[in-house]
């Protein structure tokens, strides 16, 4: 696992500085800043229209900010402004060092292609050229996300929603990314399926020392998975801090409202 001293000396992996995005007069996102370190899980929590999805798009380089910047520390140790990356570099990053888990797994998978090919695609994209090894690696990953390996040749069209989502996670993690973006990964799933998925994500994050930015409207998900949380409303960050701090000792009116709205178990 990790060397404690090294952990504390780590440089930030992802840095957002004064990020904002406006569409004409509408400010979707205003002045968001934070640093994310390796192995940290940051939850961005907010209700619809809070700007959290816009923020995630900017952080993952899919949307150009109107103001501010996002920087990422590449594998060679150099921190680069995302907008300074060429398109080829950014696409490569997206396929190797980063993962992006969509809310709707159909958007993050090739539905007509077998599960094994879905997981193996990123490997083939970085030059793996041995069918046997690709298949074995894909098979390993299916086991890790608790999908029966007998289904490796089935297309995700034949999978249930929870299985598709787990397959999406395997597809993203096969290249051992350091940073994973998740957009409401449990949205639309049955409660028991959600629970299983969250447990899986939690153990994979710990095991692989992943840094994660997870967007969710569900405070329980934030409490379970994240170290830090950022509460957003109307495009602004209302409150930020350690997850247990913000959820146990909410300071801002909006945060207090959100926390008090959780149904007791």
């Amino acid at each position: 696992m990790v060397d404690q001293a090294a952990l504390e000396n780590d440089q930030p992996l992802l840095v957002a500085e004064a990020l904002s995005k406006s569409y004409g007069r509408i400010a979707a996102c205003r002045d968001v800043s934070f640093s994310l370190y390796p192995g940290e899980v940051l939850a961005i929590v907010g209700e619809s229209g809070s700007g959290k999805s816009t923020l995630l798009q900017m952080l993952s380089g899919q949307l150009t900010p109107s103001g501010g910047q996002v920087s990422y520390r590449m594998r060679d140790g150099v921190t680069r402004d995302l907008t300074s990356l060429g398109e080829a570099e950014r696409r490569f990053l997206f396929r190797t060092d980063w993962g992006y888990v969509h809310q709707d797994p159909a958007q993050g998978l090739r539905m007509a292609v077998s599960a094994g090919a879905n997981v193996g695609e990123r490997l083939m994209a970085v030059g793996w050229n041995h069918y046997g090894r690709i298949r074995d690696t894909a098979s390993d990953w299916l086991t890790r996300v608790e999908i029966d390996t007998a289904r490796i040749d089935d297309a995700p069209r034949t999978y249930s929603g929870g299985m598709r989502q787990r397959l999406q996670i395997a597809r993203n993690l096969v290249t051992e990314p350091r940073l994973v973006f998740m957009d409401e990964p449990t949205g639309g799933l049955d409660v028991s399926v959600q629970a299983r998925l969250l447990d899986l994500v939690r153990s994979l994050v710990a095991e692989l020392h992943l840094a994660v930015v997870i967007v969710t409207h569900d405070l329980a998900v934030a409490r379970l998975l994240s170290h830090r949380v950022m509460v957003m409303k109307g495009g602004r960050v209302i409150e930020t801090g350690l997850t247990d701090q913000v959820l146990d000792d909410p300071r801002e009116p909006y945060t207090q409202l959100l926390v008090s709205s959780i149904l007791p178990p």
């Binding site: 696992m1 404690q4 379970l224 801090g241 701090q245 146990d248 409202l257």
Partner: protein, 232 residues
């Protein structure tokens, strides 16, 4: 500073925005030290702010002003102004917290709940589970329960799992919120013994105990929290 914990003039007021912005000052001027190997017990009536102070030391509740000095890896860090990342590091390697009620991630087996603090710090799973097993034995949790998540256990059993988890690693500071509250005499004795062992290892502890007898057995000093009551 040789003390492990040095709190100076800490203050906490709750603002209830949902209730029209009522302000509830709870504590102010909180000042005391805790040295290695000593156990300070916070005393005072219910609602006086004992648990609150404990949570402030853990960084769970933020304080409005004042200083919470923690000796972390040889240097002194003010928890009140520390970066979230620092607080996480301090929790990982310096301060442990045994809450009043077990708060565990659902669906995780008891043995893993207890072993987790060791695994997170790099110990191999098998070794960590072995240590966890020893503690669970001492706290009289039968082995047949180890693979079950603790959510279905009795209050007393849950609390003993909580204690095992809190005591398993070698953190130099331990915060104990009512560690013996739901326990029978035999298990109370086990906890007292565990606390004594920690003292011999030089661990600094802050505890809240209602039971007079236990308090006499473990307290080196008593700090009366009512002296920190904030003016309403």
């Amino acid at each position: 500073m040789t003390a492990m914990i040095e709190i100076a003039d800490a203050k906490k007021t709750f603002t209830m925005h949902l209730q029209g912005g009522i302000e509830l000052p709870v504590v102010s001027g909180v000042t005391f030290n805790v040295n290695p190997g000593e156990c300070v017990v916070l005393s005072g009536p219910s609602g006086a702010g004992k648990s609150l102070i404990l949570k402030m030391i853990f960084g769970n509740y933020r304080c409005d002003s004042g200083r919470i000095g923690i000796r972390h890896r040889g240097a002194v860090v003010d928890l009140a102004t520390a970066e979230p990342r620092q607080v996480l590091n301090i929790r990982r390697s310096t301060i442990g917290y045994v809450s009043q009620f077990l708060r565990a991630v659902p669906r995780v087996a008891t043995i893993d709940v207890v072993a987790e603090p060791l695994i997170v710090n790099g110990m191999a799973r098998a070794d960590a589970q072995a240590r966890a097993g020893e503690l669970l034995h001492r706290l009289n949790i039968p082995e047949r329960l180890w693979q079950l998540p603790p959510a279905t256990f009795s209050g007393g059993e849950q609390q003993r799992v909580n204690i095992a988890r809190g005591f398993i690693s070698d953190l130099p500071i331990l915060l104990l919120d009512e560690p013996t509250a739901s326990l029978d005499a035999a298990n109370r004795a086990v906890v007292v013994a565990l606390v004594a062992e920690k003292k011999r290892q030089g661990v600094a502890m802050v505890a809240i105990v209602h039971d007079d007898e236990i308090r006499h057995l473990i307290a080196d000093r008593i700090v009366d929290v009512t002296s920190f009551a904030a003016a309403a």
